[in-house]
Homo-oligomer: 476 residues x 2
Amino acid sequence: MTKLATPAAAPSPAPPSRPAVESVIATLTQEFGNLVVTAAATREQHGNTASWLESEPPDAVVFPQCTADVQKIVLTCAAAGVPIVPFGTGTSLEGQVNAPLGGICVDTRDMNKVLAVHAEDLDVVVEPGVTRKQLNEYLRDQGLFFPLDPGADAALGGMAATRCSGTNAVRYGTMKDVTLALKVVLANGEVLTTARRAKKSAAGYDLTRLFVGSEGTLGIITELTLKLHGIPEAIAGGVCPFPSVEAACNAVISTIQIGIPVARIELLDALQVKAVNAYSRLSLPEVPLLFVEFHGSEASVAEQSAHFGEIAREFGGGPFDWATRAEDRTRLWQARHDAYWAAGALRRGTKSVASDVCVPISRLAECVVATQEDIAASNLVAPIVGHVGDGNFHLGLLVDMNDHDEVVRAKALLERLVERALAMDGTCTGEHGVGQGKMKYLEAELGAPALAAMAAVKAALDPAGIMNPGKIIACR
Amino acid sequence: MTKLATPAAAPSPAPPSRPAVESVIATLTQEFGNLVVTAAATREQHGNTASWLESEPPDAVVFPQCTADVQKIVLTCAAAGVPIVPFGTGTSLEGQVNAPLGGICVDTRDMNKVLAVHAEDLDVVVEPGVTRKQLNEYLRDQGLFFPLDPGADAALGGMAATRCSGTNAVRYGTMKDVTLALKVVLANGEVLTTARRAKKSAAGYDLTRLFVGSEGTLGIITELTLKLHGIPEAIAGGVCPFPSVEAACNAVISTIQIGIPVARIELLDALQVKAVNAYSRLSLPEVPLLFVEFHGSEASVAEQSAHFGEIAREFGGGPFDWATRAEDRTRLWQARHDAYWAAGALRRGTKSVASDVCVPISRLAECVVATQEDIAASNLVAPIVGHVGDGNFHLGLLVDMNDHDEVVRAKALLERLVERALAMDGTCTGEHGVGQGKMKYLEAELGAPALAAMAAVKAALDPAGIMNPGKIIACR
């Protein structure tokens, strides 16, 4: 296994002077009144709260109501060289919302309108603060849905910014696939539109996908046009037990290879199942499980379910009990989504640290098994859940932060997790993004020319380095 | 309908001096011997031959054998400020391979090896000169296929560079969706790898999709990792007649909305059917037709076909005769792919000019009908074919180039085609790309900030403007 080179310290722009920050806050307050908040509690809620990265709150939080407000904020900050950190729901997991140099957090909470539903075109135009659940509530009586589901009820702007995916991505793709167009406020205050509403285009560089996954480092997303799907005529799903993680992974590989259009296929290892049983009062068998869901016509979901059941049997799994009753499915998927909280409850008083990698699916079983062995050898507690149809899995490390030795072992485990994924031609993050937490792995993953290209693009679109500095790549 | 603003003349870098070009050719000849060709016939084959844009041949053509060769060529040209034009099979339709400033054409014909098939991961690593048919021949006995099918047997490097799509895109996506990773030689001679082989990643800016569709203006693709699919268990398809183009389009809209996972759904207007009958010796009814194909299990293609037949009936179409016999389908699709040649044969001695636009599918019927009316009012001959499941359609204008008035009317028609598509929130090109032919429409489509962002990215990655200058956006 290749050792990662020690990453060079990331040079960052200098923090702004205190008078510059004060002056920006005064100007914004004049413009936006009590929509500018400097109270400590609010600032702390807008630092990183979802990981063990140190929280670095902004100097102030401002709540724009529209794109023009965002432009004013950006122009004010740009004039003073004060950093800007965009904020959706703060559920990102790698410190994307931290403000290492201070500056102004732009919370899009109030930009939460669904602007247009084009039912015939299966698309919707939304403001960035609309959350995925809010959107699906809005769409339900039109028979439409937005498929991406990262667990948290994240804001769609943040989901685009972090190239989110989640449980349905194996069937419906990630945010890069479902985003048709974006409106973005650039570092110079201009509003850029990335694309028209046509389903495909070959008209120039793919600006849409340049901004998807850029984590606010190239601009602030103020409007999204997203693809929708019709609510499937039928949904079937269930839980399938396996004798080993390896058997479960191999069943997944076969399912994908044969081309069953599975909508979700999620692995929970035995420890995660134990946690889910305790937390969600279920009595699932405490062995590796696949949670599986199929979308289609009544006939097709029955056919898919039967076919999957046969595959599971080939690998010693099963029985695969599937149902089309919504209440059964809802209970299961709620339990799956509560996996993070359930894991936390396994070991009270610990910090729950989520990290993800993604590998080519042929290496998935090997990668998960080696990781489980590594967890055991490290004397750590870390249930595994995974969007295994994409080769993507998560550790939910439970760390006693008062035990220095355990913290050291946990950090070393996460380093080896990434090294293992890279050695298998995988990526250091399938869906959580880079933020601050994974910057040090990017060069090992992609090489110096790719990083230099990213830095050149960043410098081209944000020459002063004010947009979410200290994330993804070092600013110059 | 919004009139397009007259586009500003695109500033271009100055052409290189003749001695600079001579010196580059001498250096390359020393390195590559008779793989450097300056014969007029070869140069002319490497200018634009597929449209009515004037052909602008390069000063020399060189045939690299590997990535290191491409690096040497780029470094040699960069040192002398001589332009580089990448070349696949020369089937692009908007002048992408023209050399308006002269320079060196890099023909990847000999880089045609399939480097690795990862059957378990459903991906393949290829050199850029591999064509799609060559790849599918190679894959067939492993039960795998590469779905994208633009008609021409294009090289995969060129297909990625132009963000190609074609008949299967409605089901399998475009090159942006099926490209996992690229190796690219940059303007500074460095080799950049855009991504690992994991099926998804959130590790930094999406360099893969930055290069897909960049038409050689940011670098030369020297290796591609592409997603594959298992050859479907069953394929069904057939032809369905409709009383009007509008009825056909409305049936398409319903099919997509209901979520039938149609693999191909292609419109031929009555004139195109007439051309196909004559050219391919078929006896299809000379009315608007949809060519439709379904992929899946035996049961699912039967279900899909029956469901589509019902939809067609609702709109006065049908009967929809579908078959699963490969020979019937092959004959039909060959005829569909020969549509370009068939159209040309409608009016001997004319130039066949293909242009495409793409609109939100709800506007498709309106856009196609208005375009047909415009063709008639302009006294022109232009059959229409379309990848209508994506809202994308093509005119095959047949122009007597000796008739000045007709040429003027034809050019005006194509301008109005783009204006019409833009007025419907569509794009000036769904799949042919920008090249030289559609540069003038980009600002009207995307706005000045988007063009400025593209220009900034171009300048960041190719500061001297040597990579395929005069395409997509003006170099600085």
